[in-house]
């Protein structure tokens, strides 16, 4: 028995080498670095998962994950997408500066505004980031389908991961390309995030354009076979 499991616990190379593979055997489960388990009643699937976790080996936690409250998986993903040539230090620095700038701007607005309006002003940069990203996520996407020699843009539903990826990608490309030569990345990012929070700005416009295209190509929706 030990022999049959031991070969699953070693660093692994698949017999058929894929383009993207991991050194972990697929037998390993993903880690959960959050500190305390949810105390609410677990559904039967969650109970099964918990019991499966006791008998399966678990992968090592990533270097960017911690159990502290300051660790946000969304922010980590965004930092990774912003990173170029593996320069995580720079990407993380830009992100921290962006959040700081957002906070400063919002606090300035807060202090300038009358007491009645102060409650509506959001000062927490993390909530602003999450809300802005939500506003940038497209609901429906387009896929290129070839039919009868011609390729059509077919409206297609998107998975959650794909939507999040598109939103982040649009934000980053927007901030890299369409800005004045002298502005820093964190300045431009904070401007875009605040604009997206208010449902304005180029990224939200791009999302709306995509939705309009999808609506326009509604006739080809039946070309989708999946």
């Amino acid at each position: 028995m030990a022999a049959s499991v031991r070969h699953l616990l070693k660093p692994w190379t698949p017999s058929l080498c894929f383009a993207r593979w991991s050194r972990y055997n697929p037998y390993y489960l993903d880690p959960d670095p959050s500190k305390d388990a949810p105390d609410s009643e677990l559904s039967p699937e969650q109970k099964e998962l918990q019991e499966l976790k006791t008998v399966r080996p678990i992968k090592a936690a990533l270097s960017s994950d911690t159990s502290s409250t300051f660790n946000d998986p969304l922010i980590s993903k965004f930092i990774n997408m912003m990173m170029q040539d593996g320069n995580k230090i720079l990407a993380r620095g830009i992100m921290t500066q962006t959040l700081e700038t957002i906070k400063r701007k919002q606090v300035e607005i807060y202090h300038r505004s009358p007491a009645a309006k102060r409650l509506e002003i959001e000062c927490n940069p993390y909530t602003i980031f999450q809300k802005a990203l939500e506003n940038c996520k497209p609901i429906i996407g387009l896929a290129s389908v070839q039919k009868g020699g011609k390729s059509y843009q077919v409206p297609v539903p998107l998975t959650d991961n794909r939507r999040r990826f598109l939103a982040m990608k649009w934000l980053i490309t927007e901030c890299r390309d369409n800005k004045h030569r002298r502005t820093h990345m964190y300045e431009k990012l904070s401007q875009e995030l605040l604009a997206a929070f208010a449902n304005e700005g180029n990224v939200v416009k791009r999302k709306h354009d995509l939705h309009k295209m999808a609506e326009a190509n509604r006739a080809y929706a039946h070309y989708r076979w999946w």
Partner: protein, 371 residues
């Protein structure tokens, strides 16, 4: 080949010699002889086709004799090693053989070993038919008699449970919430394991059919009646948290508890001493951790295990690390700290740490350069 060739050559020489001697033979008297030509065949045609015979078969007497010799040899070995022959286990045998016949061969299977004949000789089925050629088992002509008889047994049990259910219903004692068999932490036997048990080859579809039947058996309310039978086909999975080696808790001359542990990540090697002094200082390679790790992420990685367990200000950490880059060194230190913490922490916490991914050594290494 030379031997077979010689015969042909000899016959030609003989003919030539004979032609040389008898020069004038009247043509009319010469009997028209068919040319005698030796066919040259290689001796490989006379060799036995070993592959067609199949795996080597051993008789039961042969295996019994081997078992006897093994037992006697075991006692001799125990006497040689000056140990008690009665309590000489297989591990002792392996140790003694490794001591008496030290081998530097890289291939472990080529090294000398002494194992019970049941492990060496493959399990074979006994002769399935009697002297007249009549098979013993009624399912012999299916080809997979043990497999089909097993399916018959399982179905018998299903029918028996249904009869039991009907009896209970007639009495009015039928309840659907009877004791269920606990299946968590175990898995069905693999196809190879079942093949081993049945000493027969079965196909994937056969295996699926067997598992379906077992699941059907499990789905019935009174399946707990057949618990031992079902558990014979389940393999218990070991609880993973029991596998971690907890470093021993040592004590200073002052009475302060400390533990030492190592960690590795991507060619970085780290060694940590965790002292229970109560200050929370971290010193790495003689320098303060703020100076050694200017990047916030690395410092957070150092503190992750302590934060997770909730013992932030309790320990003094003294570490040494070498090799690789800053991130890998931080990862190696994190693993070392988690391992050292195991001796200060309870069982439940160990399992929680394992599920958070703190105790697994990261196997990811740099991928080689391809053109």
């Amino acid at each position: 080949m030379a031997a077979s060739g010689c015969r042909g050559v000899r016959s030609i020489l003989w003919k030539n010699r004979s032609c040389g001697k008898n020069v004038c033979v009247p043509r009319s008297k010469m009997v028209p002889q068919l040319p005698v030509r030796q066919i040259y065949v290689s001796s490989s045609l006379w060799k036995k086709n070993l592959a067609a015979a199949g795996p080597q078969k051993f008789t039961q007497e042969f295996i019994d004799k081997q078992v006897e010799e093994f037992e006697v040899g075991k006692r001799h070995l125990a006497n040689m090693m000056e140990e008690d022959p009665e309590t000489f286990t297989q591990e002792d045998i392996d140790r003694s053989i490794a001591y008496l016949f030290p081998s530097g061969l890289f291939e472990k299977r080529a090294r000398p070993f002494m194992k019970h004949p049941e492990e060496i000789f493959p399990k074979q089925t006994a002769i399935q038919w009697d002297a007249k050629g009549r098979p013993f088992h009624f399912l012999f002509y299916t080809g997979k008699q043990s497999y089909y008889s097993l399916l018959h047994d399982v179905y018998e049990k299903i029918l028996a449970i249904e009869r039991h259910q009907d009896k209970m219903r007639n009495k009015g004692l039928f309840t659907s919430d009877t004791k269920q068999i606990l299946l968590t932490g175990s898995r069905w036997l693999l196809k190879e394991e079942i093949e081993e048990n049945l000493v027969e080859n079965i196909s994937d579809q056969d295996y699926m059919r067997l598992i379906q039947l077992m699941e059907k058996l499990l789905s019935m309310p009174y399946c707990s009646l057949e618990k031992e039978f079902i558990l014979k086909f389940r393999k218990q999975l070991e609880v993973q948290s029991s596998k971690y080696e907890i470093p021993a808790l040592q004590y200073d001359p002052q009475g302060v508890a400390f533990s030492v542990a190592d960690g590795r990540r991507k060619t970085a090697k780290a060694s940590i001493t965790l002292r229970d002094s109560g200050s929370g200082n971290i010193t790495i390679n003689g320098r303060n951790y703020l100076h050694y790790f200017p990047v916030l992420q690395n410092r957070v990685q150092l503190m992750f295990p302590l934060l997770f367990v909730g013992m932030m200000g309790r320990f003094d950490i003294e570490g040494s690390v070498e090799g690789s880059g800053h991130s890998a060194q931080a990862g190696a230190l994190r693993l070392a700290i988690s391992r050292a913490l195991l001796s200060f922490v309870s069982e439940g916490e160990v399992e929680k740490m394992r599920q958070a991914g703190l105790l697994t050594a990261d196997p990811r290494i740099r991928e080689r350069k391809k053109p």
